[in-house]
Amino acid sequence: MTIRFTLNGRPVALDTDPGRRAVDLLREDLGALSVKEGCGTGECGACSVLLDGELKLSCLLLAAQLEGREVVTCEGLGDQAAPHPLQAAFAEHGAVQCGFCTPGMVLAAESLLRENQDPDREEVRRGLSGNLCRCTGYVKIVDAVQAAARERRGGRRKK
């Protein structure tokens, strides 16, 4: 069956089993390797994507559910030549250690900042509460998200 959707702004059309997991489709067929599998059961957030702008878990989405939708992965936010402010902030503030949770974490942070431009630390933690990190203890991830939020607001503090 042909599934048609947009991936990081590019239209894609794939002939595939509609019951296949979105995470497999993205990684194996479309080279979106930033989407990681950490558990396959929705417990770690490493497979996070933005689906029509909403943060969702691609290990619990089927290929058929992508039809007609917009999928954004971490690669779609920015690249090393022109990183997204969150990506740059993560790298700058020591929020990246092994890096396996990072793409999902960046998307969760982006999703948070779209709703809340000036989150306090507790709000950041809540926004990231579905993304496990085993390396950092989260402190520098929170630092990075707040730094990116500040930059986005042009350095002004609302609270």
């Binding site: 509609p18 909403e54 969702k56 619990l60 989405l61 089927l62 290929a63 969760a108």
Partner: protein, 277 residues
């Protein structure tokens, strides 16, 4: 190959269900797909509900809120009508999983999974919600207790879906309390949870409703405890008396997350939190 049917209208849905009678229903996928993986099951077909936009609305209907079965936990947690008329439900569903799970999981799904630990269920129980069941043959309405039959068991008949949940407006209950006890602060299954609605007149309880989650095969209202609170103030000693009644009423089990004894003790203890409100 798995066939994934995604009907966009109710007539299409009935057709799909008739054509594939054994096909599981897929809403948010956060319970179904995990279960299929655990049991290594690969159904021949799945019927996805997500394109049925009419099942996703939240609106006021007379003296109730009608919450579509496909409303996600995130939608419900932030919806102005819910926050105004049934904030206990918003509080409860905002504790489900984590942000992405709340974007995917639906109220209908939480009901149909019928886990003893389902987070929305104690809130729906104290709100005395009714479940609207739809099928090709029409609509029927069941009280929550008539819908939830046991762990993982509901009154859903073949060819039927949960269309909506009707929640009577409850803004006159000043106390809208929900607490979930998990083994960690997010991405946790409730080990025991408590929802409370209390209507106070000059500080005296005119009506109290208590529901405990994860301490019985299904969510449990505690009429004896409710009765003990009625007519008095929410003092620590009143709450302690009610807590004792709660502990007698619950029927918890031992599992990997907690023992029955812990659940019993804490089910009562959670009531004491109201003394600090």
């Amino acid at each position: 190959m798995t066939r994934v049917l995604l009907p966009a209208t109710l007539p299409e849905l009935w057709e799909a269900l008739a054509a594939s009678p054994g096909a599981p229903l897929l809403a948010g996928g956060t319970d179904l797909l995990v279960r299929l993986r655990a049991r290594r099951q690969r159904p021949e077909a799945l019927v996805g509900l997500e394109r049925l936009a009419e099942l996703r609305t939240i609106r006021r209907q007379g003296r109730s809120l009608r919450i579509g079965a496909l409303a996600t936990h995130a939608m419900i947690a932030g919806h102005p009508l819910v926050l105004r008329h049934a904030p206990v439900l918003a509080r409860a569903v905002s504790e489900v999983g984590g942000p992405a799970i709340r974007n995917m999981g639906t109220l209908g799904g939480n009901l149909c999974t019928a886990s003893p630990a389902g987070d929305s269920l104690p809130a729906l129980a104290v709100l005395e919600a009714r479940v609207e069941l739809l099928s090709a043959g029409g609509t029927r309405l069941l009280p929550l207790s008539g819908f939830l039959l046991g762990p993982g068991r509901t009154a859903l008949a073949p060819g039927e879906i949960v269309g909506a949940v009707r929640v009577p407006l409850a803004a006159d209950f000043q106390v809208q309390h929900f607490e979930k006890v998990g083994r960690r602060a997010a991405l946790a299954i409730a080990v025991v949870s408590l929802a409370v609605l209390a209507r106070l007149e000059k500080g005296v309880v005119a009506e109290a409703r208590l529901a405990v989650g994860s301490a019985a095969p299904t969510v449990l209202r505690c009429p004896e405890a409710e009765e003990l609170l009625r007519g008095g103030r929410l003092t620590l000693s009143a709450l302690e008396r009610a807590a004792k009644a709660v502990r007698v009423a619950v029927r918890p089990i031992d599992d990997a997350r907690a023992s029955a004894g812990y659940r019993r003790q804490v089910a009562g203890n959670l009531l004491l939190r109201l003394a600090d409100l």
